[in-house]
Amino acid sequence: MRKKILTVDDSKTVRIIVRKAFKTYDCEITEAGNGVEGLAVAAREMPDLILLDVTMPVMDGVEMLTKIKAEPQLKNIPIMMLTAEGGRENVLKIAKIGVRDYIVKPFKEEVLVEKAGRIIELKPLSDGPSKVRSILDPANILILEDKPVIVQQIQDGLKHTPWVFQGTSTQTEAFGYCVRTPPDLVIVSLSLPDDAAFVLFRNLRTNVKTKYLPVFGLVVKTETAPMQRAQEVGFTAIITKPIDMNEMETKIAKAMNLDTSRRYFSIEDDCLIMRLPENCAPAVLVEATNYLKPKLAEAVDAGNNKAVIDIHQVKALHMGVIKLLMQAMQTCRDLGIRFALVANAQIVTECKGFEDTRGWTFFDTLAEAKQHFSKASPAAAPQLANV
């Protein structure tokens, strides 16, 4: 649920700064200009946190604080003082009435947010539900690893992606980077000295800006103790060395909640293309299957009633691929989509060897398949692929 923060300050400037500080977080800011207004707004809104100034006209912050603590319905609302009124004795006197934290002005907005984030759950605002990030969108990934060769391996292995990998070698440097410019994901070696991976993880989880950042642990397959520990403390995923780049790419996409459908589905010349990659590992097949019906339905909805199922990159035919192809063809039939298959010579030969696939007809290239759509009459089109 959206958190509510009440800022009580006679200075409009401070109230604007407070709004500005929290604008990238999912919270609602309400305002009051003095203690009397503050009490009224607190009773009406029941905020999750009150930021309270001391020196104000009509009713000052100390009086408001005292009244809140005497009011059974309000007394449990956490209060953080935000005031120029400091001095050890003043602070102690006010703290004794019951405040959760005390910030003496001047203050940095980041400090205010960080301290508020220790009292209430602050979630950063997403870009909005309408904008789903895709596998083709750029992303920044930070790698904390003291072996530059590993960083280089990851950069080389995923250079076909639009992701930018930044390497760092110390925990302090990595944490500073994350707080300054939070990346989309952090990969950290679990073998770093001084427990650095776990120190970084703990720091990231206690900072409001980084607490929801996906964090991957990187470890040699045989090092089970740190692997287990990372899983227990809540690392988002574990990547084992030697690194399987396909696996890593899939895990990164999943952790960043990316729409990966464009790996398999695209629209070209009013025609939906379903393309399977060279290596159809189980994770790939699951991913492609999940997108199958929605993507075909989306194509029909957009007026595209032709589909090419292109498996020319696939190296070997196995039951997983066959099942996916059969499901794709059946969905096309159900939705009235004309479809054609494209495959390489080896797959065509392998298809002859199975009862279920023996009758499938393939085109050699995507262009040929598309050409046939334009030649074939709508009535004849479903026979393009002889299944």
């Binding site: 006679d10 200075s11 409009k12 400037t13 401070v14 604007i16 700064i17 500005k20 001391v54 020196t55 104000m56 006209p57 005031t83 120029a84 009124e85 400091g86 001095g87 050890r88 004795e89 003043n90 003496v104 002005k105 001047p106 203050f107 940095k108």
Partner: protein, 177 residues
């Protein structure tokens, strides 16, 4: 209880310099440098709010007091250009937006800067054994005006340079009754 005479000019100077530097660095990301100081500065032309050789600009003056074992007032003089610049930076607004919002928003921002500065100054006095609390800020605007303190008050004037502008802190202090 320590007496006000125990607060030397060097303590006053150190407190105000730190307080102003802290506010400007934290809230505005700017550096301020102490350029001139004067005790009992009643001479003509004081406080020297205008930068010599520059066209005199109208002033926005924030005032916040402190009351307790030591009483006092700090007047913070800023020219209108600097006041506007500070407001833009603090609120994350453009110059055009601040102009559209009017003088009130600038007054409020300068009031808050003065409040924070006086807070920083007097909090150090509190920790040195002079408990006191802040008053609500007020603002003066205009040209060619001077403030004359009552005879029992001690007066200290400090000039600071900030981005080619001048900030003057005029401090009046006397013992609590």
């Amino acid at each position: 209880m320590p007496a006000i005479q125990d607060i030397s000019e060097s303590i006053i100077r150190d407190n105000i310099t730190r307080a102003i530097a802290d506010v400007y660095k934290t809230m505005l990301g700017r550096q301020v440098i102490l350029s001139q100081a004067s005790e009992q500065g009643f001479a003509e032309g004081w406080p020297p709010v205008h930068v010599p050789g520059e066209k005199p600009l109208p002033q926005v003056v924030g005032t916040v007091g402190f009351i307790g074992d030591v009483n006092g007032l700090i007047y913070l003089y800023l020219d209108t250009e600097l006041a506007q610049m500070c407001t833009c930076h603090m609120l994350g607004l453009t110059e055009a937006e601040v102009i559209a919002l009017g003088d009130e928003v600038v007054n409020d921002a300068i009031g808050e800067i003065t409040n924070m500065t006086t807070g920083g100054f007097k909090n150090r006095l509190c920790d040195a054994g002079f408990p006191c609390t802040l008053t609500i800020p007020s603002i003066l605007r205009g040209n060619n005006f001077s403030i004359e303190p009552i005879s029992s008050a001690q007066r200290y004037i400090y000039c600071f340079d900030c981005c080619g502008h001048r900030i003057v802190a005029d401090i009046l202090m006397k013992s609590g009754d």
